[in-house]
Amino acid sequence: MAPSPKRRAVRQESQQNRLLAQIPIDVYRTFAPELEAVSLHQGQVICEVGDRVKHLYFPSKNTMLSLLCTSGDASAVEVAVTGWEGFAGFAPLLGADISPHQVIAQIPGAAMRINARSMQAFVQEHPNVRELLLRYVLAVMVQISQTALCNRVHSVEERLARWALVNQDRTEHQQLPLTHEFLARMLGVNRSTVSLTAATLQRAGVVRYRRGTFSILNRGRLEEVACDCYRIVREHYKRLGVI
């Protein structure tokens, strides 16, 4: 029997996010009414450190969220990103409600969100979904710990290259709208350092960065410039079945 148009629409919607797509369709259909489609603009703050997590966000393809850690002296640094392979707002799944991270939209676009309480009730009834999501939490923990080391020991050039690759893996956009300020905040360095580093990569013909638009020209070269952290995190992600 051919699937009904409605059923097909539900399936299509779930395909926008790899985690949602892994939920069996019959289970997903009971879950779907709780999901709300939202559109996120660049730099939109979804959650601050210490906020109660109200929603879990499942980015669609081409949308990317950034998790930042902050310190009392106002410094901040990106510690993880999540695109259509994952979700943000995991505290409710761990029986907690406070976010340890600031979550912002890095590449604007569509996402599905669900109320934290609905999600808690849902995973209570569907332990397999809980397992699926917790596995992704583990992947994020790997990413954060590798980034902690990376931020400590690698040069801005290596980190910028890794960052660009991580972005490209999650989007089909050829060009990313990105200001120097934004990039500087993600890497936790000042603007002039970002400008200098980007200029070096641009002269080498690896990237183009003009008027706030960033594009990769030579991915192979970029992989050579990036630190090992890019490959290490990817291997863990593969091992965990996230990508």
Binding site: P100, R135, L138, I144, L149, R152, G188
Partner: protein, 236 residues
Amino acid sequence: MKSTASPFQNLVLASLSREAYLRFSPHLEMVSLRAGDVLSEPGLIADNAYFVNSGMISVLAVLRDGDSLEVGIIGREGLVDINMLLGCRTSLNRVIVQVDATALRIKSSVLVRLYNDSSAQFRASGQRYIQYRISQISQSAICSHAHGIEERLARWLLMTADTVNSERFDLTHEFLSQMLGARRSSVSIAAGVLSEAGIITYRRGHIQILKRRSLEELACECYTILKDEHAALSRS
């Protein structure tokens, strides 16, 4: 001091109901772990899990060229390692014994099964512990990026003292540099500053904290943040 033979020194096990404990106890084996023992490496399946009773275990992010950074400290509030509570037996970090420890060892396959079948109460305590470890990792990320070697060394010494419940412990410069993700020479200089100020003594790998208050003043805010989270975890 309590006898190290009591399994309930470990706070995760202590949260078990008597009934649940009886299911666990046939599988638990008391072991001694020596400083320097490597309990797991990234990408390898860990055969055993450990509920720590005393001492201190470190969780490291590592690179092939030998650089590393401590992203977690495990004492009697926790277990090696949380990946098993998240449904994965493969280690994602290097886990190394930092200060001689005692622990209750259990086969990881058994732990995964028992945890999945366990009561809501035990699962809740496992989840609180995972949440605490996420805080540790996240704090390491901002700390290693934003704070200087002296502040970080001070924080690290305080956290170690709190975990092992003693102002004296043994540590080589080599270990310290692995934990802090800094060169041995930078660690030596920072430790030298603390020694000259009379805050610690550090001779032939033996550390003693002399002026705890001064060390607390030097340490970055990350110390207080994590100490408060640890206290909340222990109370719950």
